[in-house]
Symmetry: C2
Subunit: 353 residues, 2 copies
């Protein structure tokens, strides 16, 4: 419980590419909103620099040991995008830093809200964040030149905690409906376990309606303008959560507009959904990167550490800055505004709501 | 090569629920189009009855042995939807008949076209149809009460043949672009193999452009009205193909409007993408089921066995019947027309184009 704490350490992880540009803007906005408590020392910002692809490549680890140790000294983390090395890159083919951080800090709930009032869309996704197809995703087997095998791992405990989190939220928020999304008709063992677990848990929430759909038809249902507003809270195994939230974010203006909360028992990490856009930095346009998604993530961080009112103020300011934000897009070229100018605009709006 | 054959056996598999209703309408349309060659005996229809959930449950097999033997006497198969048993159903939890048939007849290429001229959408999906997350989908392991494991299996040969099929089509059709969709940044071993294989094969097709995207962002890109027409031919591992084609079909009017071709070296099977809608039959409304998707599948069958001109005539007739078809939707309740009346309408249109 954060209310009882007299010190909250917020780790700021720049990451790669445009990450350091946009996280520093988000930090400025947070400092502005939390100024009083920064002064008293209740809120402390801690910059964690080492999570760059160069460092990770040098030690061949998704998260260098010193960085992981530093992360564990923080209560919450605001993280910029990190490059996921892939075959053909100049980097060794190490695991994604996101995926590793979610696992190492046991951030089992990936919560992604998507809201488009004018389209009657108000979705909250609870994506399982530590297992499923991601559990050992980088550790499949090349049996021989012809045969490759990967594993999907689902545990009872792992399923229970994310499903409960979704039902708790559905109940508390008064949304009172949870949609479980799997492919249990084919991936019968792991997805079957996830779906069975959901059915058992649903019995403990008599006021919350549950339905379930397969991921294939679910991607179609989100497109269906007449029927998609029936969905409120969705809970999904890792891979389907990854897929469906990107599609969903598109209705809100693209992955560049969505924030993502990664929440565990002990730690929590907040991030933008988009990538690190290395080309922007190479071309010297890093300062034009749109900080909007990471500022939204910062808003989720505020709620998490008990500053819900500040988060609401921020949300209102972001809504007012919305049009500007949509014009800005990830490249910032449309308006020629920098990320800094955008953050200033948000702070001005906060001062004169 | 079908041109050289003096007898082509078309197996008609009714399946479950609305399946027998709609397949018989599609058969009527085929008989009408192929009347001359039915008379000479070049085209023979063979009804295969036993692929019902009752039979499958009784023998505990996704495809009863006698049915499989019968299927193997056909050159091509037109298949109605089959019920996939799931936990909680009155049936044992056996494998999907679709998945089993694709594997048993080695129908490695699942080809799904989605075309919406007014939206500038003209996509052809090449879904790998026999391996990936589906390979042993029903044979995962319950290690203990807590731990469930499923397997994803990708082979070099299995990847090569579907990727080559996609590139061949891209080249022959003049579309000259293939988009490879994986999640190789996380599912590195199997999806990595698929992507690497695609990159290697692309070198043999200098006139075909290749790009690649991850499945998460790809579901967002299909929604993006400004950019989605850049996609032409997509090739994907099994699970992503399952997911993305349902989303794609929604832009065309829903999964009820799309046909699907399952093609192997020796056999080919054509089916509707939608389900068996058992409730319609229970409520005595089976004759109102919309046969449009399976008639589209029959059109793909015609192309496959060398009747491309007939297929074109059918396509034109379906386009003319299009508006009617959209009003009809799967339940047929909107217009009150039966599947039979719809098929009659298609045949009348074929007679007076
Ligand atoms: C970068 C990638 C590893 C990550 C994921 O697949 O989870 C991203 O797509 C996300 O959704 O946060
Ligand atoms: C019914 C089901 C097993 C099948 C699949 O997952 O392949 C269906 O969704 C499809 O796309 O043909």
């Amino acid at each position: 419980d954060f209310a009882a704490k007299d010190r909250i350490i917020i780790g700021i992880v720049g990451g790669d590419g445009i990450g350091p540009f946009i996280t520093s803007e988000a930090q400025r906005v947070l400092e502005f909103l939390l100024a009083d408590d920064v002064k008293t020392g209740r809120i402390v910002f801690k910059t964690i620099d080492g999570l760059t692809i160069e460092n990770r490549a040098a030690c061949g680890k998704a998260i260098p040991d010193e960085v992981l140790a530093e992360l564990k000294t923080c209560d919450v983390i605001l993280k910029g995008p990190t490059t996921t090395p892939r075959e053909g890159d100049p980097w060794p083919n190490i695991e994604s830093a996101n995926v590793a951080m979610r696992r190492e800090l046991d951030l089992f709930a990936n919560v992604r809200p998507v809201s488009v009032p004018e389209k009657n869309i108000d979705w909250t996704f609870y994506r399982e964040n530590t297992e499923g197809a991601y559990a050992v995703g980088s550790k499949g087997i090349h049996v021989n030149d012809d045969l490759a095998i990967d594993f999907t791992v689902t545990t009872q405990d792992g399923s229970e905690r994310i499903i409960k989190a979704a039902f708790d939220f559905a109940q508390k928020s008064g949304k009172n409906k949870v949609t479980v999304v799997t492919k249990a008709n084919v991936i019968k063992t792991t997805d079957g376990k996830f779906l069975d677990t959901a059915k058992a848990i649903a019995k403990n929430y008599p006021t919350v309606e549950m339905d379930d759909w397969y991921i294939d038809i679910m991607t179609a249902k989100l497109v269906d303008e007449k029927r998609r507003s029936q969905f409120k809270v969705m809970v999904l195994p890792n891979l389907y959560g990854d897929i469906l939230t990107d599609e969903a974010a598109e209705f809100q203006g693209g992955v560049g507009t969505a924030g993502s909360a990664n929440i565990g028992k002990q730690y929590a990490m907040f991030e933008a959904i988009h990538g690190s856009a290395p080309r922007m930095v190479e071309e010297g346009r890093g300062q034009y990167a749109d900080p909007c998604s990471i500022i939204r993530a910062a808003g989720m961080l505020l709620v998490h550490i008990g500053y819900s009112q500040k988060a609401e103020q921020l949300q209102k300011a972001l809504d007012i800055c919305g049009l500007y934000e949509k014009k800005l897009v990830l490249t910032g070229r449309e308006t020629g505004a920098t990320g800094s100018e955008y953050a200033n605009y948000v702070m001005e709006t906060l001062s004169n709501p």
